[in-house]
């Protein structure tokens, strides 16, 4: 349990009743700031990530990866010691402004790292655009963060939703598929991935014959699978994640569609769920910026160090957290640890070439990774790499004027 949780609970106990919960933000921001005392020398990093709920594991993987990057630099960045402040965002968009304000106003952190859920990312964006605090987002792929909402202090080390499906157009074309159906949850991330795919596929002369949606986070797919069977497309492209992805893969197989209409997807469809789905995932091909069996020196070293330190196998989220640490290090090295020189830090990060376990990447103008998208195929319990589907894919950053 983090310090902030304890604070909230203590206050709840003291004030009792539901009114206290509503008032918690106000009380929190009025407390005398302890930040001033801790300012000497230490760099304050605010981690705003999910540590409870469906995405709890992702939050932990990102935190681990981030800390590994710092440990590799002797526990310091540009010679400065680090102090972490942690907030559990619970993947709750409604609480996003309150939570990020805890870090920015109460704790006066130098950098904010977060988060997983795209809705929470958008809540953070509003607050951080105003405060101008340095922000590195290690996951949430909401297009607007590095699109219409983009800002000089916003950085992302993961992906935009658009990137994760755009390369599939080429892949389907190469396999000779001319028509496709896209199926996903009806929410921002799903729609952005659909757009990314549609654009890529139509550029190759393919036709997206139908977009199928089910409400988030519902997992009853039977009606839509029946619809797919009646449309008979050459291929199906899907985005679901976590439990929903596991359920979809199993239902697709149970409906008899597996093996008749090939299934493709954004990499999240088959990440972290292969243990749960038995052989229902076998042969499904996806695109993502990371894969199993990349077999590069950097990736091997990272996997070994991660497994040794945390007794866990790293995943794509751990890589994104690790790269957030690497990116921050590059920015701070450029100003020799003087984080007050914000423009200098930003310049340093913009110029950085990140030697990531996923391969080397740089930042686009809108501060989103320009990176290789791998084609992966489910073989047993692994997302085996089948090569690069798109070399150095950049998000179009539509609406970004910064």
């Amino acid at each position: 349990m983090s310090q902030n949780d304890k604070d909230v609970i203590a206050r709840r106990g003291f004030l009792k009743g539901t009114a206290a919960i509503a008032g918690a933000t106000a009380v929190g921001t009025m407390l005398p700031s302890t930040a001033a005392l801790a300012q000497q020398g230490k760099l304050k990093i605010g981690l705003m990530l999910p540590y409870t709920g469906t995405f709890a594991q992702l939050g932990v993987a990102i935190t681990n990866g981030f800390k590994l990057a710092i440990d590799e630099r002797g526990g310091k960045l540009a010679g400065r010691e680090i102090e972490f402040v942690t907030v559990d965002d619970e993947s709750n968009p409604a609480k996003a402004p309150e939570n990020v304000n805890k870090l920015v106003q109460r704790d006066k952190v130098d950098v904010v790292i977060g988060t997983v859920h795209s809705g929470v990312v958008m809540g953070m964006a509003k607050v951080l655009k105003e405060s101008g605090t340095l922000w590195i987002n290690p996951n949430g792929g909401a297009g607007a963060m590095t699109g219409a909402m983009c800002a000089p202090n916003f950085f992302r080390t993961s992906f935009s939703n658009w990137q994760t499906t755009h390369a599939l157009g080429k892949v389907l074309k190469a396999k000779g598929h001319k028509t496709a159906v896209f199926i996903t949850w009806k929410y921002a991330a799903g729609e952005e991935m659909m757009e990314g795919f549609k654009e890529g596929f139509e550029k190759e002369g393919g036709k997206l014959v139908k977009e199928l949606y089910t409400p988030f986070p519902q997992v009853e797919f039977q009606a839509l699978l029946t619809e797919i069977a009646s449309i008979k497309p050459d291929a199906v492209v899907a985005f679901f994640a976590g439990g929903g992805a596991a359920k979809f893969l199993k239902d697709y197989q149970a409906a008899g569609l597996k093996g008749k209409i090939p299934l493709y997807g954004s990499g999240f469809l088959t990440d972290g769920v292969l243990e749960a789905v038995g052989d229902a995932g076998e042969g499904v091909e996806t695109t993502l910026h990371y894969a199993d069996g990349l077999d590069t020196k950097k990736d091997k070293a990272f996997r070994l160090a991660y497994a040794k330190t945390f007794k866990l196998q790293p995943d794509v989220y751990a890589v994104q957290g690790y790269d957030a640490g690497q990116l921050l290090a590059a920015g701070l090295d450029a100003v020799k640890g003087n984080v007050a020189d914000k423009a200098g830090v930003i310049k340093g990060m913009e110029a950085a070439k990140i030697d990531s376990p996923r391969g080397v990447w740089t930042l686009s103008k809108a501060h989103n990774p320009v990176q290789d998208m791998y084609l992966r195929k489910v073989v047993g319990k692994e997302n085996k790499t089948m090569g690069v589907a798109w070399k150095a894919l950049a998000d179009p950053a539509r609406g970004c004027k910064a």
Binding site: G53, Q57, V219, E220, Q222, E227, A246, V273
Partner: protein
Amino acid sequence: MDLAFILIQLLNGLQYGLLLFLVASGLTLVFGIMGIINLAHGSFYMVGAYLAWSLASLTGNLATAILLAIPLTVILGMGLERLLFRQLYTRDHLYQVLLTYGLILVFEELRSIIWGDDVHGVAVPALLSASIPLTENLSYPVYRLAISGVCLLLALALYLLIQKTRLGMMIRAGASNRDMVQSLGIDIKLIYTLVFALGVALAAFAGMINAPLSSVTPGMGSHVLIICFVVVVIGGIGSVKGAMAASLMIGLAETFGQVLVPEVAGMIVYVLMAIILVWRPEGLFGRK
């Protein structure tokens, strides 16, 4: 969409509706007869699914797992009623909401401690793992049909229990006048304990037999909870018949909504609820 596919979608809708009935029946029982607003209903569903998963991986057989798990959930229900819910019958609904909301958090945390935060899958029993080919590229999983059969049987059993047996008569009497029933020498406390345990067991059982269809995941109870309340409210509070009618209506509305008007599929159920409540505020089969 040709006729064959319309018929298959009809089947999808009915089958989904029956599943909803199974999940919601325990809630309507506890809500209607005992007057308890049980927000933790979804948690019992989750507990059932996790029990099925862990026991099935221990014994290697889902049927055995379910047979082992049902007594456990009955005991859980009886224990909770004795320790917690019994204190609340005379209190305002707000206390029940607070208690059962607290229970959601407790069960989520316990689940995290005992079973972890991973997504799990339960294999469909080999006997029922086949699929029946319907068209050239679509098959229907036998397990889904089997569940529909179980749901129908359970609905019939519930109806007979409440309408035709002596115990059912006492339960109904207790629902309308607790004090009178007690003064007639019937152990109303025991009856309430039994009804609550039955409600918990029904929710958990739904989680168990649904585990092979819907993956076993953290937070799986919360979505179920909302749709259960919609079923109970549309059907009329406490009416098993109403719950059945409402479940089938929702199942069909969601199925055809997703296919015909995918853009607004998420709203359809709630629009349906709003229309029915304007027309009949007490629900389809509710008492005025």
